[in-house]
Amino acid sequence: MGKQKNRLNFIVGISLVSFALLLVIVGIFYTPYDPNEMNVLAKNQAPSLSHLFGTDYMGRDILSRVMEGAFTTFFVGIATVIIGATIGSILGAVTGYFGGIVDEILMRINDAVASFPSILLALVFVSILGTGKYNVILALGILFIPSFARVIRSEFIIQKEMDYVKSASLLGASHIRIIFLHIFPNTKAILRSAITIGFNNAVLAEAGMSYLSLGVQPPDASLGRMLSESQTYLFGAPWMALAPGLMIVITVLGFSLLNEGGAWHE
């Protein structure tokens, strides 16, 4: 029963992710139209054969813009996760392994940061750093450090008591060797899962910030920004909202199903 469900999750998840990835990768090399090309004659057109997802209020092809926007989304998501996971894992590993006063202080700060609505902190960051793609990545990357640190830390606390660590230490392995060569590989499964969840959260946060016009800025296409532009034309051209919105849902749902389906836990 459970296995079957996992299988279904996996199949649906992998299909959705492949679809999203396909759009992104194809979009790097080819889009049906220039995503920024305006066409006064083709404003607010409903989906048709020449414009599969219709056109927006400036006559731009929505499919092409979704492809470009999805690329930005993936770019921000992946970059954020790289920053958060790298620094977070190292912090979590060191604090979990050594414990002590540094661990205590970092965990307190961690708790304080975690109790905040993360979008609030992200907004504070961009209000100081300024908006734009790279500042969003920096803000979200820093904000995601604690969540990775927490996960890796708790795993290290469990692992460091295990026999293989003790025997490695008896054989004279240094702390650094134990942390990185012995324990770290054993946190892989949990790290993969944390990365998937982190990626999804980054995608949702970026979309939210761009929707508020405080995230990715034009000329970079962004799904969140497309959604906020679509609102004025919701009455006459609802497809303007549906295409970018569904793209976000497909991406996030795909990855969370993959995660649930146990794709990562082999």
Binding site: S115, F116, L123, L212, Q231, L234, V249, L253
Partner: protein, 313 residues
């Protein structure tokens, strides 16, 4: 008693920490309120004089102390974009956000409680699987997209409300609430999914305990056991979840206010950031963060009241 004191001290330290970070964050930005007031053409001497009179030349800790004192008395200075006191701006907008968040949390609980019970009653039954599927899907929908869809379906197609309209509290409370229902749904639905799942897991864990079998063997009906024994225990872990839910509801409100054009804290914060109106930004951040921290404190207190085991561990 020791537990309360420890928690209270943690609360105060966290609040101080947050206020310091908020204060410090806006110190790093180039250009201060003297520049903002006099504009770019002001001479060095004019700037120096104004800074002196505003106390901006004092050491940082003196300024932080002043900031803290002002924050406690509710004086956050003047907004550069509206030219009114930040305090009055907040007192106007806080109720909107507070009602929106409260209504959202109410919806979360009212919807997910029966759903969780239904799912737990028949694990892996049709309903359970269907709801799991639904909840997984909704978790992937950003609240503002849900808001846009709600506007499309209920505002434009069904015409149940006028998109973009807002009725102030003071004018007509009933009307105000009826216009809050839709945004509150947009905030709460993605979280309902999470809460239902959490509740289901918690209920199933309780159901596996021996006391359930005992109750069953002494002749109690399944329904009675569920509502009288199991639910009560299963709700305890949910309480810790509550602080997070409220934080989520507030975070969701920040974005959803924009979708439904509600004049709350979120919209104020967003326009203030766009206009670089930093006294408003820091006040809004401090308020929202403070509310979250205090609610978490209350949750902690309630939790240990309900489950005394927490005090010992």
């Amino acid at each position: 008693m020791k537990f309360y004191i420890k928690k209270l001290i943690t609360l105060i330290i966290t609040l101080l920490f947050v206020s310091f970070i908020t204060f410090f964050a806006f110190q790093v930005i180039p250009g201060d309120s003297a520049v903002a007031k006099l504009g770019m053409d002001a001479t060095e001497e004019q700037l120096f004089e104004l800074r002196e009179s505003m106390g901006l030349n004092d050491p940082m800790f003196v300024r932080y102390g002043r900031f803290l004192k002002n924050a406690i008395t509710g004086d956050f200075g003047t907004s550069t974009q509206y030219n009114v006191s930040v305090g009055s701006l907040i007192s106007e907008r806080l109720p909107v956000t507070a009602w929106l968040a409260a209504l959202s949390v109410l919806f979360m609980v009212v919807i997910s409680l029966p759903l969780g019970l239904l799912c737990a009653r028949k694990e892996n039954g049709f309903l359970d699987r269907f709801l799991t599927f639904l909840s997984q899907t909704f978790m992937a929908v950003p609240p503002f997209f849900l808001g846009i869809i709600i506007t499309l379906i209920f505002g434009i197609v069904l015409k149940w409300f006028i998109p973009g309209k807002f009725i102030p509290i003071s004018q007509d409370f009933g009307g105000f609430l009826s216009y809050m229902v839709f945004p509150a749904f947009a905030v709460s639905i993605p979280k309902v999914a999470m809460l239902t799942k959490f509740l289901k897991t918690s209920l199933l864990r309780e159901l596996s305990f021996d006391y359930v079998r005992t109750a069953r063997s002494k002749g109690l009906k399944k329904k009675q056991i569920m509502t009288k024994h199991v639910l009560k225990n299963a709700l305890i872990p949910v309480i810790t979840f509550f602080g997070m839910l409220i934080a989520d509801a507030l975070a969701g409100s920040i974005v959803v206010e924009q979708v439904f054009n509600l004049p709350g804290m979120g919209r104020m914060l967003v326009t203030a950031i766009a206009n670089r109106d930093f006294s408003v930004v820091s006040a809004a951040v401090l308020y929202i963060a403070g509310i979250v921290i205090i609610i978490n404190f209350i949750v902690d207190m309630t939790y240990q009241k309900v489950d005394p085991r927490v005090r010992i561990s």
